[in-house]
Subunit: 452 residues, 2 copies
């Protein structure tokens, strides 16, 4: 069980900020924003309503803007960037890592990206342009070009002297990358190994050759899975000719993991994982409206089913009272199955051959739990309306609907995926349509048969 304890550090900063905002202590806020680590300052801005955000951004010193902007959530970043011209963007992104600059630029319209690139200095521009050629969600889009490379035939002593010529090694450097004459990746030399080895041996003798380099076109989800499973801090990225292009570091992978995990949660409510918690009313309305519209359509389908049995309901009004129970239990059971399957798919655990076992389990669990609760519901409903027939009908409908829910919850994500539709986004809507329709149909249908 995960703890639900609070974030001590961010919360206290956020509290201090909100108190300072309340008392108008502008100087204190300015000191906070410019004194905290950039990521913490960005967190405070992300955690504020739109009007406050604008004020906070004004209080950030211009030399800190670039540092802070890279940590802002995508939507907030885009908002601030939209108010800058190309030269301002070029100025604040100066000194950031190439992959972070590329991430920022991707928030801008193509025309502006071109202008910003033109305002950058030559070498930075080349690096950023290179990363921009890769898909934002691929290994190429995640990588950085700040690798330190060495040749296999030199001794460690030479390596150590070469390193000392650097002002500083790039952050997250846990390995030097070994390349041949053609810049092809041939191995890695972990600092952990370099530091314990005899300086007179050559790189070739101690380098790791079983490191699997990452192809630039691998999806970011696969990259994250590799890092997670192999406990990597950084990993080399290569093109189709084995040429070393750069490296991916764990800090960027952690963001991907967070994003991928949020994706299922947010999509199941029809939301985007980039959704800004404090988005304005104006930008929130249309996004939510679309989802409500889709659900309205499915609700009308369910109503259409009920309408088929108008005559029966007119005769036995108790049916109208009880029918939501059958539909809602199906929805709850189906959502449980759907969630388990969607998470299993996200973890790469489910595949055609083992999905049959899952589908069977879900139907069986649905049937048995259906029978358990059907007994209780039958008793309650029968006593309530003094009518054993209605008890029997609701019990039967409940079992039918829970088995259907198990089947639909397990099969739908697989089917949607094979149709290239995101199961997390579409699964819930389709599922509840199925459980509503089957729930109303079985309950009212059986009732019509017995009361006709």
């Amino acid at each position: 069980m995960a703890q639900s304890a609070e974030h001590i550090t961010p919360k206290s900063h956020l509290e201090i900020l909100n108190e300072a905002l309340g008392s108008g202590a502008t100087m204190q806020i300015r000191r906070m924003l410019n004194g905290l680590p950039a990521a913490d300052a960005a967190h405070l801005i992300d955690s504020s309503p739109p009007n406050i955000r604008a004020v906070l951004w004004q209080l950030v010193d211009s030399e800190n803007e670039g540092d802070i902007i890279q940590y802002l959530s995508d939507e907030v970043q885009a908002q601030f960037l939209r108010q800058m011209d190309a030269e301002e963007v070029a100025a604040i992104t100066e000194g950031l890592e190439a992959d972070d600059v590329a991430d920022i630029l991707q928030q801008l319209p193509d025309r502006v990206i071109r202008e910003v690139l033109d305002s950058m200095d030559h070498q930075d521009r080349i690096r950023v342009e290179h990363i921009l050629t890769y898909d934002e969600y691929s290994a190429g889009g995640l990588m950085n070009t700040d690798t330190i490379t060495v040749r296999p035939n030199i001794t460690l002593d030479v390596v150590l002297r070469y390193l000392r010529r650097h002002e500083e090694l790039p952050a997250m450097t846990d390995s030097l990358l070994v390349v041949n004459r053609n810049d092809q990746f041939i191995g890695a030399l972990p600092l952990r190994k370099l530091l314990v080895s005899d300086p007179s041996v050559t790189v070739r003798e101690i380098m790791d050759t079983d490191v699997e380099p990452i192809p630039a076109n691998m999806s970011q989800r696969d990259v994250a899975n590799l890092f997670e499973r192999h406990d990597w801090v950084s990993a080399p990225v290569i093109d189709e000719n084995q040429t070393l292009l750069g490296r991916i570091t764990i800090d960027d992978v952690v963001d991907v993991i967070r994003e991928e995990s949020d994706h299922s949660l947010m999509s199941m409510a029809g939301l985007d994982e980039d959704e800004d918690t404090f988005a304005s009313v104006r930008s929130t309305i249309p996004r939510r409206a679309i989802w409500l519209g889709i659900n309205l359509l499915t609700a009308f389908i369910a109503s259409g089913v009920i309408n088929l049995f108008e005559a029966t309901i007119e005769k036995v009004v108790a049916l109208a009272v009880l029918m939501p129970i059958v539909a809602s239990m199906g929805g709850v059971a189906g959502t449980q199955t759907l969630t388990v399957v969607i998470r299993g798919m996200a973890m790469g655990q489910i595949q055609r051959n083992n999905s049959r076992w899952l589908i069977n389990r879900e139907m069986l669990v649905g049937a048995i739990n259906g029978l358990i609760w059907a007994g209780i519901v039958a008793l309650a409903a029968g006593l309530w309306f003094q009518d054993p027939v209605i008890g029997g009908v609701i019990a039967a409908a409940l079992v039918i609907n829970l088995v259907t829910a198990g089947l639909a919850g397990a099969v739908l994500p697989l089917v949607l995926k094979s149709l290239k539709i995101d199961p997390a986004l579409a699964g819930g809507v389709v599922l509840t349509t199925v459980t509503d329709v089957v729930g109303f149909m079985s309950f009212l249908g059986l009732a019509t048969y017995f009361y006709a």
Copy 2:
């Protein structure tokens, strides 16, 4: 938007496994399980139904069991451990890192933990016992004791010679930790800095002193937030006297991040984030049954509300046909709000002072979207039943319910949290009870007024 592309590597292994299982190629499976990295082998076992798991575990060579078991998901790990005696557990966990051994032991009953510890060699036992004294979900429970410490007054040259006396530095060592005579943490010496500095300077001159050490009792969620925000690879852990206890590494933090992210998703469907995707039918039934039971209770409450208006429904059956629309739209809108707020809380973005803005936004968005869809629903319902009154009634009820949904979706998680109830677990149930009750009540209540 996250990609929904497939996991290339794991999937192909899983496919090969399932094909081999189909054709009974036992030798091939044994080679796979013992030849793959332990984490990948564990993934294959996690991704199999219970009966297959037992077969696969038999095929793992005994010298690989410890390596693989540490990567299994908690539930599967516990299953296998339950079948071993204390000596077997002690044998297979030999050579693992102390924090990983502690994690494994925590799956066992106290009596067995004692027995396993007694079977371990002295030094390992001391280390593991030390970690077991901390809460599993605290920094102390996450940390490892494999730190490399140095004193501030020695030169880097001495440090380099000291390091060369090691066979190998522990994995994820990105910094040496600097301690004083009393073993109190006073700074960190990043390898990145050690390697570029003049060997004749002392540790004190170049060590980082602005590193914030982690108190052993900090919650794992806060630890994860610090790592995520500061891009750390490892961080020192101290007790209340500043004494260095060990260090936490990013690989363990990534697991926490994954777990915390899964928590919201799984809890919202009444599931535990440790839930085994391929749990047996027998263990799945009771877990799901409880959740269904809770929801059954809320469904009966909604039925009770409908029952109040039996007479009206008897007169106007169209009400029974349309009433699920009002309830379902409220449920959908409320779930969207709830999800946004729960995610914001998990990210530490929401705090009492800024929650008022969120509540207002959600009610306003609910009102405006309510008005938008109310118009369309009124038209559709009015035309369908040739009755403008029913159109007006459903429109009004829809607006009332969407505003309620916005209010409840935003306020509930805050209230539940202040009552120390997990909002992700209880929020959805309480919310849909509210939107069902208010939906039926407003729709049928207004109808009763106009049709009486």
